[in-house]
Symmetry: C2
Subunit: 229 residues, 2 copies
DNA sequence: GACGATTTGGACAAGGCTGTCTAAATTTGT
DNA sequence: ACAAATTTAGACAGCCTTGTCCAAATCGTC
């Protein structure tokens, strides 16, 4: 009550901890059961909290759902940007470096709990909350894709790759390294690590066959011709 | 009752027509609302049928859902195989032919009503009906992917492509030509035709850069064509 | 036109869920 | 240890949904 004492974050710590555990439990239940099928009692039970506490924190089911998506988007985004920071700028072995990057991206951002949940919620309820998922689109793909594209552009500028349109190359890179995981993703499964590595390896090899500097030292003029194109 | 009179298909025609319209309406509602949120009254209304008729035909909600998935799987599969039959075996302009194939595959099998619905139901309810979607997996990707791979193997055997593993190449082909449509698919949208063509064009160009015959000083006309690409 | 099968609309019970309210128990900061 | 805030358990009303039942209307065929 006294002025000047913890002006904003008044409810100390157990409060926020409970909020977190509620959002976490809700994410799991919304994913498993869908918005309509999600049961507040079940969410409360999985969060280790009474139902009333859920309502105290989040008001109603819809507000809780929105909080879940916001939280997941934010956490996934920070993960993705942290991983993009590990993109190989000064490649030693470009193939190995790109495979490593692709594997990190998958394991840290796409196949982990938050990534799986966010993807499923977008697919399942995306049409029901257009403005919420438009926000995700701006904050997610709208910012991460150009960031990855910029990294590829830099590799091309450094002479390590031959790229016409970096945006297209970035999207195709993601399509290639995930090409073998599509069915698993569709059914909501989590690919094993060796499957991720396999898909990334095949994808990067093809990517480099298309965009890598031609190793055919036979004719140097062909290289320059392709580089100009 | 007399022997030899319409032994199997006894219920004449309006019956089957109603069954169809119920399954169609149910597909739409299940997709929009999810299994839990789907309302039998709404399905009946959209089918132009009374609720009791829905129960007469399909017993209960779960059986109706299973019938929907079976129907969609079957229809999508026939569409996919029909499209695979148009794969270019004797390519004139390989790039144009592959782009055309990719666009047909998208428009006839992936972006059409059945394809969109089936994809969404798999993503949304796949985990709830493991054996049902295992069946889909065998009948769908399990049969169509090898069929496409065989077509690529044939092109490689004919000297039109340089492919190490046709299965990998087929999956990467699909990943590439759909690379630019991922976000739209995620949110349940339908890409415009020009977006499909654009993604297919970019994807096929990259695919051919990776798997196309190297313009190894063989024919000058091919070289210039690729240089322009 | 007549007959049997199908469809219809409406009523109905049983059950589940959301969101609110209360009073008691518990935690938190000082 | 105290006081305020938070959490809890339980009850509750209101609403919606599924699946069943039944009598009347309709359809399709002979």
């Amino acid at each position: 009550m006294r002025p000047g004492v913890s002006p904003d974050i008044f409810p100390p710590r157990g409060h926020e901890a409970k909020r977190l555990s509620i959002v976490d439990a809700a994410a799991g239940v919304f994913c498993r059961e869908g918005f309509a099928g999600a049961n507040i009692d079940l969410i409360a039970a999985e969060a280790g909290v009474s139902r009333q506490t859920v309502y105290n924190h989040h008001g109603d089911k819809e507000k809780l759902f929105i909080a879940v998506v916001r939280d997941l988007t934010e956490r996934c985004n920070t993960g993705i940007f942290a991983t993009i920071a590990t993109f190989p700028d000064q490649p030693g072995d470009l193939e190995a470096d790109l495979i490593g990057f692709a594997v990190r991206l998958n394991q840290n951002c796409i196949c982990n709990r938050d990534g799986k949940f966010l993807r499923k919620l977008i697919q399942t309820e995306g049409e029901r909350y257009p403005e919420l998922f438009a926000e995700w689109r701006e904050q997610g793909p709208g910012r991460t894709w150009p960031a990855i594209a910029a990294r590829f552009a830099r590799l091309a500028y450094g002479g390590h790759l031959v790229i016409d349109d970096p945006d297209v190359a970035a999207r195709q890179f993601l399509g290639l390294v995930n090409a073998e995981l599509q069915t698993t993703f569709m059914l909501g499964g989590t690919p094993r690590e060796d499957e991720v590595v396999q898909s990334a390896t095949n994808g990067v090899r093809t990517f480099l066959r298309a965009f890598g500097k031609r190793p055919s030292a036979a004719s140097a003029k062909k290289q320059t011709a392709l580089a100009n194109a």
